[in-house]
Subunit: 726 residues, 2 copies
């Protein structure tokens, strides 16, 4: 009952202001109590009013379904479920009858249309056809929003209208999305989450426990499918969604919204405590999977997705309501948005009261898989989540159909930018000219391929030879993770991506004496058995300033790197054979900071400077820089290198500092089973990243190099040296 | 005397606060009167204190000159003149003796060093050698700042110290920069402005009218050279500086600062009224030559230069003080900076008092040349100067040694971005790895060449065959300019850039019925006499969405477009031969907006889709997109086209609107001497850009096309049609 009391108090200010009419919200300068106490909420009210009023002017438009995604009827039905939702909330908040009337009229039009509908004429196949939309997923999204709008006005309706809309629209829609679309409804997949959320919420509104039960427990009510099972299988124990952050964001909304409805209607279920509070954990994890507000672009990600998205407005509001974590308020502040619910009002009010604190972005290991045993994502950070450093090791599993062949790849962020990058999806969402906004052919031929990632490529083939079914079966193994500040280290191993080749990668974020910023270190050990060509690409974002070694350049005729598996999309600018680590480096500039990548060249290895965009007659690809280390090996090799951010270019003040690398050299030493990466700065500071690969945390390892003894305990460590080692 | 009284009142708050010590400014949370009334000024004080305190900690460091630009002694002497200036201002503002003492000690060290100096060891040639720096220009900049710092502490010194610094440092430095560097001092060039400003201000401080006189009137005091003459010859009557905005910004500081000193010491000169107030006009023009705060990158411009630069902090403060134009306050607000002078305090105080108004960015024609007869820059705007449209026609003269061969080229800005771009300079300022930060060889081989600009290239040669001396002699002729909103039109003609070829370009910003934004139209008439190949490049910034015609693509082997004059730097992606204007278009996306360029293909013409970056083994060039229209002509031709911004891509809301062109087609008609460009939208609206080239404003012209009569008065007009024309 506390909830209800609080709610009344919260709405008090808004309602009393609202009685005087809409002008108070839409006219500038007329500050109401609500605006003063919660401007974010007031601006949402204004936004909703503007949208609903515009829709009301156009009248009730419920066309017979005809077009695929992006077409007229598709867009109109999308607008309609938004207006049903927002109109309902406005009625609830303001008591203005016109909103209830309009939502009622739209729903009556749907009640008349819905019984006449069969498979959608633009469906791709019957199994996934919607009624209102070409895909059943869109019908489920329609229901999730519409049932909430209906709930807000239902008690205001005449008995006849209520029965008409209950029976001819929502009961039929829930029927279609459950028993009528049994295959989708029974999946363990985000499409099914949308469907179960819509059906379950409809059950609560219509007072139909059967609908609630099948939504929660599956059509057979066994609990093997349905919403609860989805929340157990789709997220790892750490709240990571296997498809990656882009889809995690999308999947989150029905989880959070339906959970809110369960909590309200059936608080004894303690849904937010289910599986150790997995839903709120997943929300927090979603936020942790961002840098400067944007999601790490794992797998088929559209790269411009940020926390500024409807799903996260809902998620943050619900999570704040449950946790009162002031860090969430700073996220809402950055979003500049909230939702028109009690939870949204609370966010807005507490934000206005100055309760926000910086969100605690931090280093963490996120296990993948329902039991947390299918690899992991390791995030190593220093500084804040907007301008600090973030090293991301993607050691997670394939992630189903939207997964990429990118085992043990990594990304690096600094100074507000993506420095070592991931291509994401080859897709221009909703842009008609680019194949109607669908995934482009280059998503298969480039974006998913291993060479398009910061991963290892053996013999110019992608992991699992590009076979997704095979990839689904084998995940990397996270061997070690330490978030100790100054010596953050992650090690993972991949077996089975290539026959007979196993690779183990250690990525570390290390504080180096005398340097302003930490250095990212990378030690990739490859055990191959027999002859192979190994390529280690680095996809980076910047303009080359200096190359430390001689190049043979293709200055007047630019060839392509290879024939297939993504290699056909790579232009070769130049090749070189650096002979030592003091020369094996490339420095580039990104925004106002310099970056130097430096590596230990193996005997006979080659370096390729390249760019994406070959074999792309339709200009579907972005053109981005790539550096490839290539080694023809008798079987085993180690790639060892570091990435260093340094200096500053200040164009306004015409001042440049430390534009060249601050590292003198690096060195790799193999000692027994251990790998050691020695780093020496220009100023003379020396340290070593030492990896024993020994899981015994208490065992001490020692190596003598150049007369100096290097000792460390356990799997791996970052050791400062006195001098004399190199 | 009002000035003095006001000044006292202004400083009152600061001084009383300052008595309590520096902590009041450097500690967060202790708001002083100054901080409350003028936070911008308080933050400048904090910044200066932090810098000067840091320098004071390091002690007095005045090394014997040795290094070229970017080297240690170079940077140290730069830091020193900044600390002399800022230390002096701090003493004046706070009365704290430590600042006067430190500035004195630094100056005494210079007084000891200076008499020993000869030509700089890293000089490029004796004529332009400095004493403290490798270039005399840097010595002049040293003097301009240092003499102001000295002025602030001079009266606090002992007679002996004063005499020592007067005689051994400033008198000698002024002597060196005037009679000792007579060639530079007597130029009509910004280097001479720095020298005369330094020498003249030294004259005022030392009470030496001779120095003031030679600064104002030249070494021979004839007025043929010197500061006054520079202000007459270097700026056009509209305040345009012939080298372009990047150098205009740089040239402005000594003009403004020395003028301030003249006004203070010799108000009867009315220096700010000189030549119809040219100095303030030049300042306002400098601001008008920006979009989203950045300078139009004409000629050898470093593209990241914005209004956030020391020269403009001074300029805005002085101009505001003289004019009280509230628009200047909004510029200061965007800069987030001001200067530590009375003028800066006034800016900060009035800004804090809420007096700022949006700067009135507007359409205007800026004549070039001392008498305004050497061409012009035409700026056509709609909306504000940060997100609106700006079409810039560069019809100005060559602009001396930093000029580019870019006659009648254009640029286009929209939505906060450069859409049709100019490369600027091939230079990475102060970045050691890029040839020590100097102009790169590619500045000559690419950036200056005609093909690197949105201009006409005849027979693959640059204008004036790349001969700067020849280019200096001939400027374009501005034939027409109209800033009528909705029908803004500029026409200019270039004769002599190529033997026997004359070209006349009309650029227009036109409101089209039913379109959200204006369309940029381009009609380039070429009169050639005999056989030529004409190339019309369009340098644009975006990712291609749709090409309206068939392409032959170089997908696996990328050739270079040509042999020299910049052509060697162009990769050819694809070629095509569109046959009609409804298909001759390319659509791209920049940020969240779409752009379509569309043209009327001449018989036998070809289109080349290309990218810069070929023959660039050192990665000195940015890689940018180019579209070239190529026609082999018997002599005369007309290039006619439009550029249209349309629609929106909203990644967050997953909503895309109008991603395809809203224009159905365009058509070019030649009728007698007149050119007509007909534009028809998808929705059916029709209009025509009609150009008679007739200077008689009162004469009416009529053309009948498709049965419809098109009439307009004078040189050019934009006429809406009833229908039936196309």
């Amino acid at each position: 009952m506390t909830g209800a009391l609080l709610s009344a108090a919260l709405w008090g200010a808004v309602s009393s202001a609202a009685v005087a009419g809409p002008a108070q919200y839409s006219q500038a300068g007329s500050a109401t109590t609500a605006q003063i106490s919660a401007p974010l909420f007031a601006s949402e009210l204004n936004r909703a009013r503007a949208f609903v009023d515009r829709m009301m002017k156009a009248g009730v438009v419920v066309p017979f379904p005809k077009d695929p995604g992006g077409g007229y009827t598709h867009e109109q039905h999308k607008q309609n479920f938004k207006v049903i939702y927002q109109g309902g909330q406005l009625y609830k908040l303001t008591g203005e009858q016109k909103y209830a009337d309009y939502v009622r009229d739209v729903l009556l039009a749907y009640a008349k249309l819905y019984p006449k509908l069969g498979d959608h004429p633009a469906r791709k196949n019957s199994q996934s056809s919607g009624r209102l939309f070409w895909q059943v997923l869109n019908d489920a999204m329609w229901l999730v929003d519409s049932i909430q709008g209906y709930e807000a006005i239902r008690s205001s309706l005449s008995a006849a209208d209520r029965k008409n809309i209950d029976d001819n629209l929502f009961r039929k829609a829930a029927e279609f999305l459950s028993t009528g679309s049994a295959v989708t409804f029974s999946k363990i997949h985000n499409h099914a989450t949308w469907a179960t959320a819509g059906v379950g919420m409809t059950g609560y509104v219509l007072g139909d426990p059967e609908l609630v039960n099948i939504a929660l427990l599956g059509l057979d009510k066994s609990g093997q499918t349905g919403f609860l099972r989805q929340s157990e299988l789709l997220f790892s124990p750490d709240g990571y969604y296997t498809e990656g952050p882009y889809y995690q964001r999308f999947a989150l909304k029905p989880f959070v919204v339906f959970a809110g409805a369960i909590e309200k209607n059936d608080p004894s279920r303690k849904i937010f405590d289910h599986r150790d509070g997995i839903l709120l954990k997943a929300l927090r994890t979603t936020i942790q999977l961002t840098y400067a507000g944007r999601f790490f672009p794992f797998n088929d990600a559209i790269r411009d997705k940020s926390l500024k998205t409807d799903e996260l407005y809902h998620g943050v509001a619900v999570a704040y309501s449950k946790t009162r974590d002031p860090g969430l308020l700073s996220i809402a502040e950055w979003q500049g948005r909230t939702v028109l619910t009690d939870d949204g009002m609370r966010v807005a009010r507490d934000l206005a009261a100055g309760k926000a604190k910086a969100y605690p972005f931090r280093s963490l290991l996120l296990s993948d898989g329902p039991e947390g045993k299918q690899g992991a994502v390791a995030i190593m950070r220093k500084g804040d989540g907007w301008t600090g450093q973030a090293l991301v090791a993607k050691n997670s599993s394939q992630g189903m159909g939207h997964g990429h062949f990118d085992k043990l790849s990594w990304q690096y962020y600094d100074n507000g930018h993506e420095i070592v990058s991931d291509y994401g999806a080859a897709r221009f969402l909703n842009i008609e000219a680019k194949q109607g906004g669908r995934y482009l052919p280059e998503n298969e031929s480039w974006a998913k391929q291993s060479i398009a990632h910061n991963s290892l490529v053996v013999d110019e083939k992608s992991h699992f030879n590009g076979d997704r079914k095979a990839a689904d079966k084998l995940a990397p193994q996270q061997l070690y993770f330490s978030d100790e500040m100054g010596s953050q280290i992650s090690t993972a191993k991949m077996t089975g991506a290539y026959p007979g080749v196993e690779f183990t990668r250690t990525l570390a974020l290390l504080d180096i004496e005398g340097l302003d910023r930490p250095v990212a270190a990378d030690v990739m050990r490859v055990d191959g058995g027999n002859d192979h060509q190994y390529d280690l690409p680095l996809h980076y974002n910047g303009h080359i300033m200096r190359v430390g070694f001689e190049l043979e350049s293709n200055v007047a005729d630019r060839p392509v790197l290879g024939e297939g598996n993504g290699y056909q999309h790579i232009w070769v600018d130049a090749t070189g054979q650096p002979s030592s680590a003091d020369k094996a480096f490339v420095t580039w500039i990104t925004d106002d900071r310099f970056y130097t990548t430096r590596w230990v060249p193996q005997a006979g290895s080659q370096t390729i400077l390249a760019e994406s965009g070959a074999n792309d007659p339709d200009f579907n690809l972005r053109r981005e820089q790539i550096l490839v280390q290539r080694v023809a090996s008798g079987g085993d090799t180690v790639f060892a290198g570091i990435l260093e951010g340094h200096g500053r270019y200040d164009g306004a003040a015409e001042r440049t500092t430390a534009s060249d690398s601050q590292i003198r050299t690096i060195r790799h030493v193999r000692h027994g089973d251990a790998d050691l990466l020695l780093i020496q700065t220009l100023a003379g500071a020396k340290s070593v990243l030492a990896i024993s690969y020994d899981q015994d945390r208490s065992r001490t390892h020692s190596v003598i190099i150049g007369g100096e003894k290097i000792s460390w305990k356990g799997f791996a460590a970052h050791v400062r040296l006195g001098g004399g080692v190199q």
